[in-house]
Subunit: 219 residues, 2 copies
Amino acid sequence: MDQRTKINSRKREPLSPGRIVQAAFEVIGAEGLAEFSTRKLAQRLGCEAMSVYHHFPSKAHLMDALVDSAVASLRPIPPDFDFIAGQRFAAFEYRAMGLRFPAFFPFLSVHRMNTPKALAWLNAMIGAYRKAGFSDRDAAHYFRQFGYYIIGAVLDETAGYARGPSTAAPVPFEVMKRDFPNVLSAGPHFAKGEWRRIFELGLEMELEGLTSALAAARS
Amino acid sequence: MDQRTKINSRKREPLSPGRIVQAAFEVIGAEGLAEFSTRKLAQRLGCEAMSVYHHFPSKAHLMDALVDSAVASLRPIPPDFDFIAGQRFAAFEYRAMGLRFPAFFPFLSVHRMNTPKALAWLNAMIGAYRKAGFSDRDAAHYFRQFGYYIIGAVLDETAGYARGPSTAAPVPFEVMKRDFPNVLSAGPHFAKGEWRRIFELGLEMELEGLTSALAAARS
DNA sequence: CAACATATTCTTACAGTGTAAGGTGTCAAC
DNA sequence: GTTGACACCTTACACTGTAAGAATATGTTG
């Protein structure tokens, strides 16, 4: 009908899954997960909301593509690393991925990884445990347990980082001082500059535990 | 206008924050977090959607009340427990809380705990670390790191438990067998019956690490 | 008792959401 | 040309949270 719409769609690069995924990350990064809608996505793409549906059957499928894309950005463990060094590498790599998409990570953390690229990554990770000497069962269990720590850590860093202050009226300083002095004195040590140390503290604890478990499994 | 509405609102118990919170948990438990809306909540309460707004200024405030209520259900660490036993108790207690509200936990996991009851719980937890002999800084860091593991674990149990299959078309068995054999053979060991063992595996690893850290801090 | 005040609850309306159904313009193959 | 496939757009619907204000219920004062 209106000729400008045609011109618009001719002028710009045509839509594609890749371009849509990238634009989605941009919107989520700029406006936050809650503000991410098909219409705002379309606005950034220079098209109409429904045009996205020609490339993704639903918003949920698009979100899955975002998960896949984020997971695909995880570099595999270098082959010459031993098991512990490899797990350390994977942990930092996963954390870096989360911090690359801080506003998106809370979504990722809660979603099953059953897209092809996510499965490939999972497969490699579990394979590392098997290869190190864990039984099938122990490989599954220790890997999952390790994931608990990593995901919990990255979630905390991103959920706190990406979101503004809570909706509830914050407790005033005087009340904090009187009723929750431990929280107050812990506050500075929760600052962003400390996050990496906190992450490493627990990570090294995990790695020592894995070392012991591995020694026990091999004997 | 319509007289039945009056009769209805006379007949039932009057609205109150407590009744609304309870109904909210019921709706979330029965229909899931995504299906939880003010109108469905009102339906369960036998009132109109906007009536809720007299008791909570916004849905976000109501959600905060849910967080507060869930956290308030955490029993404090018994005073005669030593530090490690206390942390073990708190970990299981937290996990039990999450499993009590499985559909709600993914929301809780991502939200700051700055309501009064949540702060009281935080304050007690951090206090336990201080009392055990950690410095202010180490208390903050080791507590947070411990929380990473616990929250990651409970999130995984509830997010997998409370949600149905992913939206993406699942990868067919033949493909799994060929391309992701490690994931396939790990599958049975990720079954629900194994969750408690997995949780304990990582928990005991954490507790051993805390024991060592505490010994180092005291020396 | 009536009259007023306050606390609850309901009605209506609006801007926003995901997306079903079907239309329109462009281009390649015949 | 005509046809058909493809990419994109228009419209419409059922849903969301909630602002604004009307209506009712309850309590208080005369």
